[in-house]
């Protein structure tokens, strides 16, 4: 069966090469079932380096818990710094996964099929990394349960429901739960395939338990489709709500530089921007290492780059509006923050941000650059750095100068700040590489469905609606 190149009107196919259902299964499942494929150098090297950083993370967290959050650089007036920067950065990165799996599903975008599983996993690990920061910023995470969650406790007190911080707890925990369930439900039919393909009885049993009795009957597919669509419906508003609520942590306050109405849309755009950058940053090496170039094709990379460009422009528009509000407010503290960003001691970081998020992503206008893998990868790296800098500009830079010039203080991170930050990056990469090794990275049955749709043309697509029957 040849993939239909005309079907979706592009230059690169969504599935490359001569593919059959069998060959798709082989390509994807062998990554999990033939463990010898991982003894190659890239997997070992990356996982080993990531594991070193996991250890750095554990040491940083251990020392933090023992010593208290005084080991970090944040102190009045910059009470929020690396911890919140990293929290927002990681939460943002997760957004691409939800966007790809939920919104693109509802919009019937078939190109999501080969990258959705992978980016959903990214979402889950990114939210784990994100959650670590506020949790450990409480100083005593073992009692954070009763500070964060509303339940009838023995103190007779409730969290402050008027505070965006408690909205944040709900937003992030809902986001994590829904993403995890969505991911696991999507894995069930693939677990069934793995069970059927496994050779050893023990492995068969293992996959069978995960497949939860999946036999691929008409009824199973019907229920699966319904559950998946409902979950997509639940996830869709989360793409917009989670980062809006995160942005309200800032926008609801009165800190100069934070109190602007543009924050929610601008944060959501930034999240998708950073998320797609991270998807490409990881997808590009993995597709190369595991020979998945026929499944994650140039077309996918091209479209991800276009989304990056679009959201990047929205984010840049947000930067312009921030400056405009600073001037338009007529408030001296607001103007002062803007001038501090332009000309203050942190000015290099601000201009680096403009370079990373405003200037360099413009390369993606050129179709040639979008198809030149090293360029795309470089732009993604730059965007990831830029999105981190954006949060640095927003959070500690605004806090260091405030209404009272007498209480202005500079903020400097400590080694432990960097230790925990790089540690979470290591944790993220480590988890991603374990995921690639032990679970199917690409959705097998959706790829087969896509292959079927592509080779049977449009007539069937009209007849079966959103996702196509099987």
């Amino acid at each position: 069966m040849m993939a239909d190149k005309e079907g979706l009107g592009g230059h690169d196919p969504l599935i490359g090469g001569q593919q059959t259902f069998q060959s798709l299964d082989n390509t994807i499942a062998s990554v999990v079932q033939d463990q010898k494929r991982h003894s190659n150098k890239p997997w070992m090297a990356t996982t080993f380096i990531a594991f070193i950083f996991v250890n750095i993370l554990m040491v940083s967290v251990g020392w933090l818990v023992y010593q208290g959050i005084g080991i970090w650089g944040n102190n009045v007036p910059a009470g929020w710094a690396f911890d919140i920067i990293n929290f927002v950065w990681w939460i943002g990165i997760g957004h691409a996964g939800t966007l790809i799996s939920a919104i693109l599903l509802l919009l019937r975008q078939q190109w999501r099929n080969s990258i959705n599983r992978f980016s959903e996993a990214m979402t889950i690990f990114a939210v784990m990394c994100a959650a670590m920061f506020p949790l450990f910023h409480t100083g005593r995470p073992w009692v954070a349960f009763y500070w964060l969650l509303p339940y009838p406790n023995i103190m007779g007190v409730w969290p402050q429901f008027r505070s965006p911080l408690i909205w944040d707890v709900f937003a992030v925990s809902t986001y994590f739960t829904v993403s995890l369930v969505f991911w696991l439900v999507g894995l069930v039919p693939d677990f069934g395939t793995l069970r059927d393909r496994a050779e050893k009885v023990a492995m068969k049993r293992f996959w069978a338990i995960l497949a939860m009795g999946w036999r691929g009957s008409q009824k199973h597919w019907h229920r699966y489709e319904q559950a998946y669509l409902i979950l997509a419906g639940i996830s869709t508003p989360l793409v917009l709500s989670v980062h809006s609520i995160v942005s309200l942590d800032f926008a609801v306050s009165i800190v100069p530089g934070w109190n602007t109405a543009v924050f929610p849309p601008y944060f959501v755009a930034g999240a998708v921007f950073a998320g797609f950058a991270m998807v490409l940053l990881l997808a590009i090496p993995i597709r190369a290492i595991y020979g998945l170039k026929d499944l994650i094709t140039m077309r996918h990379i091209d479209w991800c780059a276009k989304i990056m460009l679009t959201t990047g422009l929205i984010v840049f528009f947000g930067y312009m509006l921030e400056v405009y509000y600073g001037w338009y407010s007529g408030e001296i503290p607001e103007t002062r923050v803007m001038l501090w960003r332009f000309f203050g001691p942190y000015k290099y970081l601000y201009w680096l941000l403009i370079l990373c998020n405003g200037v360099i992503p413009q390369l993606m206008w050129s179709p040639k650059a979008r198809r030149h893998i090293p360029t795309v990868w470089f732009v993604c790296l730059v965007v990831s750095l830029g999105m981190w800098l954006e949060r640095f500009v927003i959070i500690p830079m605004s806090l260091t100068i405030n209404y009272l010039p007498a209480s202005d203080r500079m903020y400097y991170p400590t080694l432990w700040d960097f230790g925990m930050f790089t540690g979470t990056i290591g944790f993220f990469v480590f988890m991603m590489f374990l995921f690639v090794r032990f679970l199917p990275t690409i959705n097998m049955f959706e790829m087969k469905d896509l292959l079927h749709t592509l080779s049977h043309g449009k007539a069937r697509k009209v007849a079966v609606g959103a996702k196509g029957g099987r």
Binding site: P152, N153, I154, M155, G156, M212
Partner: protein, 251 residues
């Protein structure tokens, strides 16, 4: 190919769904129950002391006023644990050979205080003050339980914050004054109740007063009582809006 699992696996799968959803809830409820139970709070669990001192004997049978031993209860945050000298003010004359009192005599001779085990305590970040509670007419037993009935002293209440704030959020439900003695200040009201009990016995007390004495939660939501309570709140100048502020107890 042989079946991977026997038919019983279906049952196991279904059960795992049921337990998987109910177990977290059950565990949560269990933690909630245990943290409120005497296992954790030690309410009504008598605490061993170096000398088996009985409040029942001293406060009820002998009718000694609380303040004879807990001297600073009206003036200070701390009610005071009596020094050995207070014990010896009687026990130098009576029960001078009792073996139970040997540690007291030892302590008196050597000048080493007795290490009483503290029954009622609040965490160090709680700044509780006895004097203000007495000055607003809150009976000892409201917090400490039926002390006059305790042989070996035990905790009357758990002192969990939810319990404290019941009164701090709505003191009108707790404030009470014996209307037959309008001449007494709120501070005198506290101790008058014990004299009244000695004089008239339990049956001579009003229902509300019996609740106080027996250490029951003396809340009354009857409209009449709440109105009277509200009047007392105004009369005593208690600022209810501020009473449940964090800084009232946590500085």
């Amino acid at each position: 190919m042989a079946q991977l699992f026997k038919p019983a696996a279906n049952q196991a799968a279904k059960m795992s769904l049921i337990f998987g959803t109910t177990l977290p809830i059950v565990i949560g409820l269990m933690i909630a129950a245990v943290s409120r139970s005497p296992l954790n709070t030690k309410v009504e669990v008598p605490k061993n002391q170096p000398v088996p001192f009985s409040h029942q004997h001293h406060a009820w049978e002998l009718g000694i006023d609380c303040r004879y031993c807990h001297t600073s209860v009206e003036k200070s945050s701390f009610a005071g644990i009596p020094p050995t000298e207070t014990c010896m003010s009687c026990h130098s004359q009576i029960w001078t050979n009792s073996p139970m009192l040997e540690p007291i005599r030892q302590s008196y001779e050597t000048g080493t205080p007795i290490r009483w085990n503290k029954v009622n305590k609040v965490p160090e970040f709680v700044y509780f003050n006895h004097s203000i509670h007495i000055a607003r007419g809150l009976n000892c037993n409201t917090c400490h339980g039926p002390v006059q009935e305790m042989n070996i002293t035990y905790k009357g209440n758990a002192f969990q914050m939810a319990w404290c704030v019941q009164c701090h959020r709505a003191p009108q439900n707790y404030f009470y004054k014996d209307e037959s003695r309008p001449d007494l200040s709120p501070r005198q009201q506290v101790f008058n109740l014990y004299w009244k009990l000695q004089e008239k016995g339990r049956s001579g007390l009003s229902g509300r007063e019996q609740d106080f004495i027996e250490g029951h939660d003396p809340i009354s939501l009857a409209k009449d009582d709440v109105d009277k309570g509200r009047k007392l709140v105004n009369e005593y100048g208690v600022k209810v809006q501020q009473l449940a502020d964090c800084s009232v107890c946590h500085r």
